[in-house]
């Protein structure tokens, strides 16, 4: 018997049971609730987790795109994941999450067998104050998921107060990890890539409706490389390149111990006003 109370909330939220038709059944978890529906990062992690749990899966995640097509209601959902093409060292997956027969989220994932090659990093980690010297962001009472991440902002904090002054750019730089700390794996890294609030809220504080529409993440390490990270904090940076006509993009980089780039992630975000 599994002791559900002992499991990390993230592992509870990832719990999927395979039904006889091959689909995965799960349910939204209150620890990762957003203002409306679940935190996008937990949904992205679930899409990847369904593939990671499939015995037909080849290699490690290389790329994941998640499209948030419609709202997800609190409660049960089904995830269907199928390998649309398997090559010698890569595998392409198509994934969808539905509730009551309606598709709410679609995704594609590329898995690959990674092999040692020449390596170099051009996106180097910015200089930042040490983790211990920064205050922890207390989290938001209206978005439960923010209290399950430890975020220590070096620059560009979340400022939801409508009277905070606008900034000249949308850059956030912060230390971040799961709370309680949890050994890093691909599902956790996927969710961590989406902890960056919509850049609009950094640049122009205020309570404006905003939400991710499409999210693409590239993984720059393999399972062994992630295991090296353990439970230590990551450092993240996010910035938008353009706001306009109701949408803005944002790009994020996540570095692990020793300034090693673990993932880069890009998204397009709806906003009102």
């Amino acid at each position: 018997m599994i002791d559900h109370h002992a499991a990390h909330p993230f592992d509870q939220a990832l719990r999927l049971a395979r039904s006889t038709d091959g689909a995965w059944e799960g349910a939204t978890h209150p620890a990762y609730a957003n203002m409306v529906g679940p935190f996008g990062g937990i949904t992205a992690a679930l899409m990847l987790h369904a593939v990671l749990g499939d015995p037909a899966r080849l290699g490690d995640p290389l790329a994941l795109t998640v499209n948030f097509a419609g709202p997800i209601a609190d409660g049960p959902f089904r995830i269907e994941a199928s390998a649309v093409r398997t090559n010698r060292s890569t595998q392409h997956w198509s994934i969808s999450l539905s509730q009551n027969g309606a598709v709410a989220t679609t995704a594609s994932a590329v898995f690959a067998i990674r092999r040692e090659t020449w390596s170099a990093t051009e996106a180097t980690m910015p200089a930042a104050p040490a983790f211990d010297t920064l205050n922890r962001y207390p989290g938001s009472l209206i978005a439960a998921w923010t209290r399950h991440y430890e975020m220590r902002f070096a620059r560009g904090p979340m400022r939801i107060e409508a009277d905070a002054p606008p900034l000249d750019d949308s850059v956030s730089e912060l230390w971040l990890r799961d709370d309680p700390p949890r050994p890093l794996d691909f599902a956790a890294l996927t969710a961590l890539c989406d902890v960056f609030f919509p850049r609009l809220m950094v640049r122009r504080p205020g309570r404006v409706p905003a939400g991710t529409v499409s999210l693409s993440t590239y993984f720059h390490t393999d399972a062994a490389g992630l295991a090296d990270q353990g439970t230590g904090p990551l450092f993240g940076r996010a910035q938008a390149s353009h706001f306009g006509l109701g949408y803005h993009d944002q790009s994020a980089q996540l570095w692990g111990a020793g300034g090693r780039l673990l993932a880069t992630s890009h998204q397009i975000v709806y906003f009102k006003g």
Copy 2:
């Protein structure tokens, strides 16, 4: 009767005929051939073009992800595009290209009705020499598509010679447009986002096998905004953030007249060695 010889090669390559089952039938075009199979940008443009031609399509393209799952042979192909979810102002599409019943390329597209909002650009166009002052890249004899784009490099040219010295970074900056010039539209912009050679070839010149695995593009303007661009050259910048374990990412920005950011595009690229 359509005069096929009068059409721009890009429009010839985009030609799709709708079959009675709703799928689109097309064929690879020699003008956009790559060393093996077609140029990825023309394939990406075709995936979007199939949706643009569908009477059920809502609004303008906002995001497009294309996964190059397997090789495309010279010859005919079929594209199937279906709207998986239509909301009030957004629509999510799932698209696949197949040959002889085998899926070669998958894609997802988000379309949206764009409305005026607050706007700002953080990714500003780099300073660059004027278009007329730079020499045109002659194109490669072994990749026909390179001769159907006018590329004038300000920085980081393609150097396929194996004895060219390595560089400290993978940045390319260039003026670029269709050749012959063609009024900009979403299909052309999609293809232009993929004209940046694999960053490996800029940083470490040499003939190393490399190819895009997954490509995501975000559009920062609407159809009217693209029409303003006409046939003028765009300015593009591309850079990798990390190379390792057989893959590297790269991010590109494309600016139009007046330094207006038209699209940002990200991809993950396989490489050997």
